[in-house]
Symmetry: C2
Amino acid sequence: MAKKKMVYFFGGGKADGNESMKNLLGGKGANLAEMAGHKDLRLPVPPGFTITTEVCTHYQNGKKYPAGLEEDVITALGKVEAVIGKKFGDPKNPLLVSVRSGARKSMPGMMETVLNVGLTEKTIPGLIKASKNERFVYDAYRRLIMMYSDVVMEKAAGIEPKDDESGIRKQLEGVMAAMKKKNGYKNDTELKAEDLRKLCSEFKAKVKQVLKKEFPDDPMKQLWGGIGAVFASWNGKRAVSYRKIEGIPDAWGTAVNVQSMVFGNMGSSSATGVAFTRNPGNGENKFYGEYLVNAQGEDVVAGIRTPAPINDYSKSDQNRKDKTLEKLMPKIYKELVDFRSRLEKHYRDMQDIEFTIENGKLYMLQCRVGKRNGPAAVRMAVDMVREKLITRDMAVLRVNPSQLDELLHPIIDPKAEKTQKAIAKGLPAGPGGAFGQIVFSAADAVKWAKEGKKVILVREETNPEDVEGMRAAQAVLTARGGMTSHAALVARGWGKCCIVGCSGIHIEYGKKLLVTPSKTFKEGEFITLNGNKGLVYDGKLSMMDATEENKILNDFLGMCDSIKRLGVRTNADTPEDAKKALQFGAKGIGLFRTEHMFYGKGSEQPLFLLRKMIISNSLAEREAALKQLFPYVKKDIKETMRAMNGYPVVIRLLDPPLHEFVPREKDKLTALAKELRISHVELEKRAENLHESNPMMGHRGVRLGVTYPEITRMQIRAILEGAAELLKEGLKPYPEVMIPVVGEKHELLDQRNIFKEIYAEVLKKFGLKKIKCLFGTMIEIPRACIVADELAEVAEFFSFGTNDLTQMGFGFSRDDIGGFVPDYVSKGILPEDPFQSLDQKGIGELVRLGITNGRKTNKNLEIGICGEHGGEARSVEFCHKVKMDYVSCSPFRIPIARLAAAQAVVKERTKK
Amino acid sequence: MAKKKMVYFFGGGKADGNESMKNLLGGKGANLAEMAGHKDLRLPVPPGFTITTEVCTHYQNGKKYPAGLEEDVITALGKVEAVIGKKFGDPKNPLLVSVRSGARKSMPGMMETVLNVGLTEKTIPGLIKASKNERFVYDAYRRLIMMYSDVVMEKAAGIEPKDDESGIRKQLEGVMAAMKKKNGYKNDTELKAEDLRKLCSEFKAKVKQVLKKEFPDDPMKQLWGGIGAVFASWNGKRAVSYRKIEGIPDAWGTAVNVQSMVFGNMGSSSATGVAFTRNPGNGENKFYGEYLVNAQGEDVVAGIRTPAPINDYSKSDQNRKDKTLEKLMPKIYKELVDFRSRLEKHYRDMQDIEFTIENGKLYMLQCRVGKRNGPAAVRMAVDMVREKLITRDMAVLRVNPSQLDELLHPIIDPKAEKTQKAIAKGLPAGPGGAFGQIVFSAADAVKWAKEGKKVILVREETNPEDVEGMRAAQAVLTARGGMTSHAALVARGWGKCCIVGCSGIHIEYGKKLLVTPSKTFKEGEFITLNGNKGLVYDGKLSMMDATEENKILNDFLGMCDSIKRLGVRTNADTPEDAKKALQFGAKGIGLFRTEHMFYGKGSEQPLFLLRKMIISNSLAEREAALKQLFPYVKKDIKETMRAMNGYPVVIRLLDPPLHEFVPREKDKLTALAKELRISHVELEKRAENLHESNPMMGHRGVRLGVTYPEITRMQIRAILEGAAELLKEGLKPYPEVMIPVVGEKHELLDQRNIFKEIYAEVLKKFGLKKIKCLFGTMIEIPRACIVADELAEVAEFFSFGTNDLTQMGFGFSRDDIGGFVPDYVSKGILPEDPFQSLDQKGIGELVRLGITNGRKTNKNLEIGICGEHGGEARSVEFCHKVKMDYVSCSPFRIPIARLAAAQAVVKERTKK
């Protein structure tokens, strides 16, 4: 068997790999190959090669490289040397390379990078001669020592510094600061060539002192050290934590990209930059980017210096006065604009590109699909279809369902905002609005959030170590960094409210103070952020839902609707909810909970009557109470059906155990006892009788209907009379009566007898021939899935209640999982909380069984899902796959359901 | 299509039907046909015909007979007339017939019978002439009027008398009593022919007065009235109630047998009797029966007169002085003995026969498989195999598993019994011993039992209306009736303690008094019954289990073992239970619950330590408590393994939610707080934190093991060290470690890691190479059945916990089903409580899935069931069918499981 190819070369208009090889070469490697080698592109990519992810996997299982890797790397290095005309380790014309990670899916900043590999005592003179820039060379060298000692010698070797300050990077920074202080310099740029040369010597001495090892002066040793460090960083703490959040499998591994260095810090005709082919913040089809003259790429990404705009469009308040690249280097800019349009045409998507200008020559260092926030994703999808760049199917896949959430994210109530003056302004890096208590470290953010507090993480800048804290916070505010800084990238990816580069603020970590021009805030004080405009406010401002008319979103969702097969209904318990859901695109109600009317405002009287019914001890007492309750129930149902006119409304009969409604307050108990003319003792006795050990599996749902048929009778009468009255008004009510907690056919038969009886009675009373109405059941008991064939002989529809099905299928009481499910997720026993996303393997199999069995005996069976999984994207895809007719979810999740339903269709087509 | 045959003739050595047609002809009809027509028998059966159960079903759906039935009946009647040489309605030589029910399965006394049909004003003189016995004829006539007016005119017509006294039967009895009083007669026999003739006139007048209808004087009208009444009685209250208890489907219907009358009340050369081919009370191969001279059959069954023994063997204290049939009519007796042996040889089973002697001629009226109690059933099965009458397979099916229960029923502690003098003596009609409070009506028995009281139903005699009360009582005591009376038959069928014909007692219903020679008891006072000896004692005597060595039972169970495939283990939590189970034939323990040691006597200290562990707030505290707990846990497990030496012992790790163990008593809380050096408030806070809404689905089982691995560690160490110590003693311990409440493979992996770690540690500590031990899981969570293929990759055995599987599969909290499951059963929504007998359709399907999935990935998987279904006969059969390896049940259920397992094999063979 032929040896597997481990190393892929690219450069000089050629490439071994291409874009389709992302799993093997990582995203970065595949795109470098594509940019370098594809006939439509052949962009000026510095030559290099990619070591495959398979090598990483091999390396992880034993910390050894596969046989033959060394030779392959040397061969590839030879090709690079040939293309670029320099030689690795050559004292006269030395080649320097970067060593970077590149996973299948981008993990920005989570793994290690070593630059300037190949600089040694021997090659330094040659490079000085070639570059004619001694300062640049020593600057590169001190960067190499710093990175290498930190990343390769300390981190990859597994040396744990005792504290932050004892880490080698900090110590070297200390050496550098001391030199600057000694010389009275404020900025790094003031360091002269001689200073830097001396600094390099001091660095190497420090490295030896702290790490008890020499900084290697052999280029090949440096190269292999770098490669090993990148592979090792795949299992570094930050990377593992990020993968857990993003759901990236540990087994994927990372590729390593070794690429010849080009330098943006060669002087004033050099620069480095990052750009997006369209605006990632709002989706506009405008070239958007930032650059820094005389700088290395990481200076832009790290957010240490605030970069300049590449063009007028990219200007912000912070850099309005800076010269644009378009003005400064018009030829280069024109070339870049040309590359931009070729890349978009080729990739048919917005690209995030990194470029370097070395002595007036433009190099493309990277291109990849650009991250974007929700509004931008939607806009780009809609625009690109209009531009005929992509098909509708492609467009639908371009928006992540969770990104839609951003469009529907809370924003600061504009009325409240008008009355306030912002205390600071930064770059709008993450959408929506948020308020919270100030914390100054990621660890505090995590801790406070666990205590149930809403926090805003405030940092000078963020780094990959902060991701968990950013996750835990409501929003992130940084004093430094641009739209492409770490904080901005991460927040945008998550759709989290974020403001970066807020230069007006100042943070004192030691005292835990946030200093703004007008006020100094202590830890724990409230601030509010407008992530859409980059504004910071004092205190808590009220929020509102972003439900305003959104033309582009509606266009996008319309596109989804034209593709999707699944119907989308809503869970709504009031006419108001029903109206809101219609605006969001619901075509009917999948779950109307009759018990809702006993909660919340306006429920005083009906709740009192319900309690009276519950505490009743005889059929006569109960029927009297039900009679009083009837008009309330009828009105609620009728008005909801009116709001949903023409669409189906699934009404679930009383579900919770009666004990839930028994009052605990003394005055309410007294009123109840008085109304029923019984003593307090008797009342308490009756209430006590209703108490259950495991109410979730107790006397509830259809079990109430069987033991108290009069309760079923009242509810069905309310539904059918409500419908009859609407019919008389000329409307088109379409109720579906749903029996909850059913596990056996005879339960349904029992309740259907009541249904038939009342149906006949109501027809007669209203002189009607027919009321359009279905009779069906919730499927939420595991046994119901098993005997669904029998249930479907009685039921005209099924609606899967996957919340309860998850509870009983797993034996997880939702109220009690706090004691163990967090441990389960953190130990990897469960991939996630099964109440968030449907457990497709276990509970999903029960659903599948239920559907297969049900359709066996009833081909016309209408099948849907209600409950929260109906608005969760992966669960919606599952519902599509198992051929449900519709999903139902809360009004705000409807757009997500519509998108996920469309994506399910497209994914299915793609597979065929 | 040919018309279905509706009427089957039998008589004169011929028969249209035979024994195999029980479904169509009912048990009685099929056996009459068999007795009359089979070449080996051709017994003297009075000719007659059977109307099929299909006609009954037709009749029930619309109260009409199928077309052509009338003609068929007339044709069959003609054949009867031809055989017997009499004519129906013939004034000179009239034929009289009986009209009786006969269902597929015997329902003694539950349906109606009309005798002497065909007696009219016209036929009376002819019969007088033919019988030369005017008194007999009028006696027959008054019986016909009484029965017919009651059964046909009142009951079948659906007339509801206002109270018991206003019923026509009571009124006619009143008329008769008045006549007797007027004439100063004490017994019915004193009534002369003239009296009876007059009585008949008065009866007819009364009937007209009360029911507003004439008693019919047309023989055909009488016949159809009788047939209709029998069919109608299939849906009578008593029959429906009996069918519910016995599980007889409503759809079966009854046949109607019309048979020429023969008379046991023709004078002193006439008699009637009932006999069993073997003793139904103990199984001895002796002819056993009772008879009455000059009486009709119902006089024996009704228990109104105490009958005489047919032979010396059948004598009891009550009838020791009566002349036996053997002595009185030796020729007839010899003939009967001949019939007895022919019937047993033919049917290969004990037969219950009814015979009548009319003027010195023996007629066989009925034969059917005789009911017997448990001990008798076992003995007959064993004997008949020895006699080569039946095969072992047949023998195994001859004992109903619930009958074995009787053999294991409590009896009065002989020591206690020795010290007491019986206050009364009757016939030992139902096995075992029982004590309870006296009640005097079936209704009271039901009511008191519902209140949780143990009652003894004391009646003059019982009738079919009493069955529910008999069911509810611990035992039944009647003053009248013989071993074939209603009370005796029913109690024997159920294996319920019962004494009948206790003539020394007297009951005053009005005052609710039980009067015995030595003492008068009020309602509610305690008595104790010895159903094996027929003795009644004052007060509560202590009971004991009937666990004494039982040779015949052991022979029988040995037969079962030679046939069964399923293994039988026991659920045992102590060495004592283990020893007892071994005696009962268990081959291992299927469920040892570690938590048991924290309940009951001797548990004070371990429970305290467990509580200490539970209330611990840190790993260190918890580990300290676990260390103290360790020796107790190890000792318990070790000694149980010692008792079960050589057999497997499945040990389930801690299962219940920890909160269950938190004490409620103040002094215990104080002691605990003191031990832990925490405040009361703190203790209560910690206890409160453990509280759950639905503990059944909360933090329990493996979930505890995952969150507190130290608890698992301690338990596994206790098991393996216990085993290691036994190995060192030269014993053969075989533990199986069972993880409870598992629903996901990763839970098992997590716990198996601990298992492996401790296993290695213990081997090392004891210098052992191997400890025989399996690692497996309980399957009790619905999801576990779905993902069983994955679980079986880790588990070496599955044990189905069908209690919890039923709870979660149905969503029925066992503690809370009291609110609705009784309604479910009474409304027919569920056939029975699924915790009693496994719900094969739903929960069974989950079990089936679990087994199929599990064996898919692990062919060597050991599969069993623990929990109460493992000792329930139908569930055991299910376990056999789904190919489990063993069942496990409580020690006392083991014989039942062994029998049920053998029956499952035989049933399977029979089907093939």
